[in-house]
Symmetry: C2
Subunit: 437 residues, 2 copies
Amino acid sequence: MKSPELQILSLNAFSGGGASLAPDVAALVERRKKSFGAGSVLFYDEPLKIVRAEGAYLHASDGRAYLDFYNNVPTVGHCHPKVVEAVRRQVGEFNIHSRYLFDVAHDYAEKLLATFPASLSNLVLTCTGSESNDLALRLAKRMSGGTGFVVTKTAYHGNTATVTEVSPSSYKHGKPPSHVRTVPPPDPAIFGNDMAQGFADAVAAAITGMEADGIKFAGLLVDTIFSSDGVYADPPGFLKAAIEVTHAAGGLFIADEVQPGFGRTGTGMWGFARHGIEPDIVTMGKPMGNGYPIAGVVTRPEILSAFCGDFGYFNTFAASPLATAAALAVLEAIEEDGLIANAAHVGRHLMARLKRLQAKAPITAVRGAGLYLGVEFGTEDGPAPAIAKGLINGLRYRGILIGAAGQYGNVLKIRPPLCITIAHADMLADAMEELLG
Amino acid sequence: MKSPELQILSLNAFSGGGASLAPDVAALVERRKKSFGAGSVLFYDEPLKIVRAEGAYLHASDGRAYLDFYNNVPTVGHCHPKVVEAVRRQVGEFNIHSRYLFDVAHDYAEKLLATFPASLSNLVLTCTGSESNDLALRLAKRMSGGTGFVVTKTAYHGNTATVTEVSPSSYKHGKPPSHVRTVPPPDPAIFGNDMAQGFADAVAAAITGMEADGIKFAGLLVDTIFSSDGVYADPPGFLKAAIEVTHAAGGLFIADEVQPGFGRTGTGMWGFARHGIEPDIVTMGKPMGNGYPIAGVVTRPEILSAFCGDFGYFNTFAASPLATAAALAVLEAIEEDGLIANAAHVGRHLMARLKRLQAKAPITAVRGAGLYLGVEFGTEDGPAPAIAKGLINGLRYRGILIGAAGQYGNVLKIRPPLCITIAHADMLADAMEELLG
């Protein structure tokens, strides 16, 4: 049996055969294989060549506009005028590392930190979510004195050597080293109705297991909406008990907000807020610069100080004027465009439509919050990734982009730019209804 | 005794006391301490607030223009019109991850790969030099079956957990783990006149040492101009013998071109070319996007394939239209502006002036190639970091920005944008002459 990640990749990946490609696409695929080799992963049996983007739409070389329900990076909309303008202005003024002073990094840092509980008052800027999680693991190890981490079964937290170890979904074979222990995703099908207790017990058992093997616990690391596990948001507050277990065992709680952060869940800026908890470390990335590479770690000053006493840490491209100007424009656009309220409003409507669809389709669950929804497919034979794969390609030919997640790749992952409208949500629901009919 | 990195940092770092700061600078320093906490490192006793940049100059809030002999990222010049125009155009068209197709990533990849030996035909794009070195270590481990690396004594290769282990200069106390062994920098004061043999013998001894401890050798990783060790370029070709030792022991040679790459040495695009060698893996970063975060790993297809058989690797922000458009403009600017020839020409002139200065100042060596030069200070009492520190601050007040490197922080590190002129080089040499007089 193939590993989960391999299933997810193959579910949506270009296989190199099958569909006959348009000449411009075929030519690019050949160039791609030559330069990028085994590192190349393309979406779709018939890959898309993008030529332009705006708002909720990507425009392809086939002359069609594709409604984007996949991309969580351009969170305020593709080519948002405010972000475009900020980048165009700053790139012509200056762009330099942060060992010099300049205003915009501090305007940004203060505006960002104001969205966190008061205890989380220090920010380290990095370039990618991977760099943020890599640093977060080091902070947690230093503060706890431990080395062991608990993560979920199909977790993905990034691509550095160290972060891959806490990302079971990246293993094509084999499994994470012994200092990494996994717990099941917070699925009612596994834990029943008392999710808080069930998930906390699983975390406690994982800690007990690693300590029995002589590995001191350092922390619990979860994506607060469990994206790659298949999108789990409910019931609000269920994470609280697991955090208490983590703290009682001397570990730190790292909230990975790379995917749920910046308003996507529709209930505030951060996914952890939904659970009424205060993380020790928060990491963020993807939507932070609407595509400009910027990411960050927010933590308590004493956690950062302890680490900085041991190691020099400097990140050349991070906290630059250009990165922070782009990111500041994103924060302003989220506010000015009312995107958190929009995520809640459109997400609620889409959730209701998907739940109605559930009554007449092989859908085993509709989950999520705001504009991060998961639609799980299954039949009496179990998880049904073939249905998800059929939908992904079927929706592509109907002009809608989407992807899959979960251990079996049977969960349709809905995470559009936050600027989509009720009409866009209806276009997705209508198309799914037709395809599943 | 403080560790090398601590010395280097304190040599040029803002100490928080002493100079009375301009009100705008003092206010920013306070905001900075609050938001960035222990993670903040600022240059100079009296930090600079930057408001604008162009060509070889940074303009500060004190109304002065500072000639930049420090920054190796804006390699084609601050706010180069070609790069500014490329970013301004692409950011308004589209910016998305590379699981879709688009032209510019391939136009870039092919132009970049054409600068490498034919065997090095696959490119993985990342966002930072740290991510590139992190991936390179994984590639080398997979291909060699080993885990042990040899690096130089004061090496710096980046900031991830794994890359910090091969960066002795990042340790404020303690030292790298046992799978990392160090060799002295290629200094004639250590190895005498037969540098090739001496350095190769040191690498061989390090490999023998690790294998005696049961650690299988994976590779030799060096910055091909040994930047943080204090800048060592000569004699051309000396690295060849060490690479032969590496290959004979079953290891891979990783050339870290993050600092010397993209024409800085004046003898071609890459530092390794100076040594007539063909690396197994090449990493690059800093100047690649003239400040836009883009970095990369170039290797042989079979090395990349082996790794990709084990792990999924995807980098969301890398290989994007915006990143590759910026990087393509950099390659074009290097060509069109004749920057490699300029690095050779201006570098030769500056080297000659510095060597003349050596006769009348406490300079123990002038080293380097092209526009990466090192001026080492010492007296009969040994290395003289105080002279380097005095010069760094003295030059700042004369309107010239510069930094230090080396185990003792006694090497003035000269690495300006490659667009500087003979007149600029004379300004630096004149100012140094005055200050040392």
